[in-house]
């Protein structure tokens, strides 16, 4: 049964007609055409579908679309503003902190969520926060360096 679900999506108010029990991940990828959020495991075990809902990093594959109603959702497509990369994105580029790039949007959104809540994370807090995000290519060492560099550069700011 379709219903109207309204939320803020990458800074814009939207409302969509959708079965509210449908998976947020597939609604993003197919109904809204936001393919930067990836499918990796479907059970919240890999982090490839990480998005931000009200300042918190969550796994889109484990949520129903109704759970985002009235909330603010940010996907990887909403992170750069006016063509300017977010410092976390910039740090990933500058550190070559990716290979195949499939896990990268989820990684970056997870870091973004971490820094929103903890602008000055320690190395062990970073590792703890990132441990549920899987990368098969093995870019881990560079991703950790990129996160530390971005956090330092942001100096507590959100951007």
């Amino acid at each position: 049964m379709k219903k109207t679900v309204a939320f803020t999506m990458n800074g814009q108010q939207i409302s969509i007609e959708v079965d509210p029990s449908r998976s947020l991940l597939w609604v993003l990828r197919y109904d809204l055409g936001l393919t930067g959020t990836k499918y990796g495991c479907g059970e919240g075990l890999c982090g490839a579908c990480t998005v931000i809902i009200d300042h918190k990093a969550v796994r889109a594959c484990t949520l129903q679309v109704k759970e985002v109603a009235g909330k603010r959702l940010t996907t990887i497509e909403g992170l750069a503003r006016n063509g300017d990369l977010h410092p976390v994105q910039k740090a990933f580029v500058e550190h070559d902190a990716l290979q195949c790039g499939y896990c990268t949007p989820g990684m970056i959104m997870n870091v973004y969520g971490l820094l929103l809540n903890n602008p000055h994370p320690s190395r062990s807090q970073i590792i703890e926060s990132m441990d549920g995000n899987l990368c098969r290519c093995g870019a881990h060492q560079r991703i950790l360096a990129a996160i530390e560099s971005a956090a330092q550069q942001m100096g507590g700011a959100q951007r």
Binding site: Y30, G36, G101
Partner: protein, 731 residues
């Protein structure tokens, strides 16, 4: 052919033979894109006809397929200079993280003398790119690279000739730089873009030489990835991200186990789901919908019965089964006389090493979208072998190969696992049956089920040392891992290396499911066994493991990487087990030499290993992108932690028990060691492989570190906490 090329061919004949011992499913004889079609596809822009001495060598080295399956002789196939000066490079290779999107662009930019930023690569599009056997075996830089460089070098020579005519100067007075041909010491100049000027020019130039490494300004310089901006913004498209109007998303009924036969299927409930289309075509039962989650619901509503084949083997009994199934051995190398070696030996060590099945587990599952319009089929697929897929899809659809275009967007990891393209053939079949574009994206459970696992394998080694601590003999047999990396490189007078099944497929009745190439196929198992055994011999000799290796080595490249690694690590000689948790291993893969030294911390109570530090030294000949090479080394080391410590496929007969990442543990951030990489640049030697070599040492490296920490010798990978605890308990 240059002398160094000849030399490289002979040195690495062994590793090449192993590379190609089994190619991905051999495509039917194909039809190359003819020159006219290619010109049509290119449209405007300057066309440069060049030739290269490298051409003759490449098809043979890349194994060749049927007739016409070789790199085109027309070198327009490799590059185009646009009217705006932008350069497009064309390659049948695909980008799956290994970074050739950057290193191939560096080669093209260097030889053509244009800025790196002005080069774009078009990759893995069978209508636009020259034929390619597939992206595997660390061959892109080694074998496609020289052809691309030659094409670019001759293109530059043609442009200089054209400029000479335009400027009415002798070409000897002209130089090319940054896309401009200019008069040396004078005022006259003309851009490549101006030379193009909408014309199509065909010209042939002979004898254009590639640059000498001393002239390089782009190659050999650490260069950041060219694809990073797309990948950090979510704009990079993977096969599952492609959308076509009217497309349907398919979910396919799968058997519960390999070898199971579906007997009864009831799809009535699925038919009742609004918007769902059900397809039943022989063995294929699929449900299709505009969105995957509704297709999922429909699939879940199908009831099916299956008859399973008897499960006569599982992950515990597989090794006995494999030994029973072993075919006749093939001697890969031998020298001296083993009986003589045995009598010369003071101490003899005989051991059997085991290695479980391992999954590729790329984060992107296999995905494809197929669209059929009239007599033309277009397939977007995550595959390492677009040209093979083109042939297979044509055969499946009953159309000529020219009617099929395969486009490979970015691939989300491959490691050999995307050499086969079953998902794309399913999409093509369903597109034909439904008349609509159809997308197939495997679920994670399907990805584990249909993975072509790295084969379980056994290595038996008997070897001995003399009073002087020299290796007297080496008798080596590898079962089912494959021949790559089996040959030892130590200075041993009496030796024999035998492969029982030299490839990764095993043959009928051997493996209960598909097996296939997995990053540096065969070499991980072989290097684990060899380097573990060398360490055991060092212990018998009462020698430090690095000193023992150096004592028994003559190969200068190996001596160099090993000594460099010891220096970088700050190695202090000691006999193992020293209690320090230090391990060492070395090997050769895809023409590159690697030596690793690690430090681990081992918790005896839990059996858990934390790898603290890994030093890797790699000598890979000419290194096109040192930053990209380091990234590959780091990736290989991190990925290799998995097969060394946790990764193991669990199964009963044809039923795969691992369905997701909760039961198959990949390396995580909390495992990440400090990785220090040294690339020994050898710019005057031909470029060797970079994507695979650094993973081969990880099993032996960590097994030796576990021994050094505890005195317990682990003979089976992965070294799970249970196996480590059991080995310690036996001490």
């Amino acid at each position: 052919m240059k002398n160094d090329e000849v030399e490289s061919q002979s040195i690495y004949a062994e590793s090449l033979a192993a590379d190609f011992s089994e190619k991905p499913a051999a495509p039917a004889p194909g039809l190359p894109l003819d020159r006219r079609q290619f010109l049509e596809l290119l449209g405007g822009g300057i066309l440069i006809s060049v030739s290269s001495r490298y051409l003759q060598a490449i098809p043979q080295r890349e194994g060749g397929g049927g007739p016409g399956q070789r790199l085109p002789e027309d070198f327009n196939a490799f590059l185009r200079i646009g009217e705006d000066g932008q350069v497009t490079g064309y390659t049948g290779k695909i980008e799956m993280g290994q970074g050739v999107v950057t290193s191939l662009a560096q080669m093209l930019a260097e030889e053509l003398s244009v800025p790196l930023e002005s080069v774009d690569m078009v990759m893995g599009d069978t209508d636009l790119c020259p034929w390619d056997m597939g992206t595997f075996g660390s061959m892109s830089t080694r074998f496609f690279g020289p052809a691309l460089r030659a094409a670019a070098a001759e293109a530059k020579a043609v442009l200089i000739e054209l400029a000479a005519e335009k400027l009415q100067l002798s070409k000897d007075r002209l130089r090319a730089q940054a896309g401009v041909v200019y008069e040396e010491g004078g005022q006259k100049k003309v851009t490549y873009a101006a030379l193009a000027n909408g014309q199509k020019i065909l010209r042939h130039v002979k004898g254009a030489a590639e640059m000498n490494p001393s002239q390089f300004t782009i190659m050999g310089k650490p260069t950041l990835r060219k694809d990073a901006l797309e990948k950090v913004t979510g704009k990079a498209k993977f096969a599952g991200d492609i959308r076509e109007p009217g497309m349907l998303y398919a979910r396919i009924l799968r058997p519960p186990a390999h070898g199971a036969k579906t007997t009864e299927v009831d799809v009535s409930a699925a038919r009742a789901v609004p918007g769902v289309q059900v397809v039943q075509d022989g063995d294929l039962v699929a449900v299709l919908h505009e969105v995957p989650d509704v297709a999922d619901q429909a699939l879940a509503s199908i009831t099916a019965q299956a008859e399973r084949a008897a499960a006569n083997v599982d992950d515990k009994t597989i090794f006995d089964h494999l030994l029973k199934m072993a075919p006749k051995g093939e001697t890969l190398a031998q020298g001296g006389n083993l009986a003589e070696g045995q009598s010369a030996a003071k101490q003899i060590t005989e051991r059997t090493y085991l290695n479980s099945y391992v999954a590729h587990a790329t984060i992107e599952t296999h995905a494809a979208l197929a669209k059929i319009e009239g007599d033309k089929a277009t397939i977007w697929a995550s595959t390492q072998t677009p040209f093979a897929l083109k042939e297979q899809a044509a055969a499946l659809l009953g159309v000529p190969a020219q009617s099929v275009r395969v486009i490979v967007p970015f691939v989300g990891g491959g490691f050999g696992g995307k050499s086969a393209s079953q998902q794309a053939l399913e999409a093509a079949r369903l597109a034909k049956l439904t008349g609509k574009p159809v997308q197939v994206v495997r679920t994670r459970a399907e990805e584990f089920f249909y993975d072509t696992f790295r084969p379980a394998a056994i290595v038996k080694i008997k070897a001995g040392i003399t009073d002087a601590g020299l290796i007297a003999f080496w008798d080596y047999g590898v079962y089912f891992a494959g021949a790559r990396g089996a040959q030892q490189f130590y200075n041993i007078p009496h030796h024999r290396t035998v492969a029982y099944s030299s490839g990764w497929n095993g043959g009928t009745g051997v493996h209960p499911f598909a097996t296939g190439p997995w990053r540096a196929p065969g070499n991980n198992t072989n290097t684990f066994a060899r380097e573990s055994h060398i360490d055991a011999l060092a212990v018998q000799a009462g020698a430090d493991p690095i000193e023992f290796r150096l004592r028994n080595l003559k190969d200068e490249r190996m001596v160099r990487v090993l000594q460099t690694a010891a220096d970088k690590f700050g190695w202090k000689p000691a006999k193992a087990p020293s209690g320090r948790g230090y391990g060492v291993a070395c090997g050769v893969d895809a023409g590159s030499y690697v030596a690793h030294i690690a430090e681990i911390a081992l918790d005896r109570a839990s059996g858990r290993v934390q790898v603290k530090r890994v030093v890797c030294v790699q000598e890979m000949g000419l290194c096109v992108n040192p930053e990209g090479a380091k990234l590959q080394v780091e990736g290989a080391i991190t990925m290799g932690l998995g097969y060394a410590l946790t990764e193991e496929v669990q199964f009963t007969g044809g039923e795969i028990h691992n369905q997701n990442f909760d039961s198959y543990e990949l390396p995580r951030f909390s495992w990440t060691p400090v990785i220090e990489t040294v690339i020994i640049d050898a710019p005057q030697s031909p470029a060797q492989g970079g994507g695979e070599p650094a993973i081969i040492c990880m099993g032996g490296l960590l097994a030796n570190a576990v021994f050094d920490s505890t005195g317990a010798r682990l003979l089976q990978l992965p070294m799970t906490p249970e196996r480590i605890k059991a080995a310690i308990a036996k001490l």
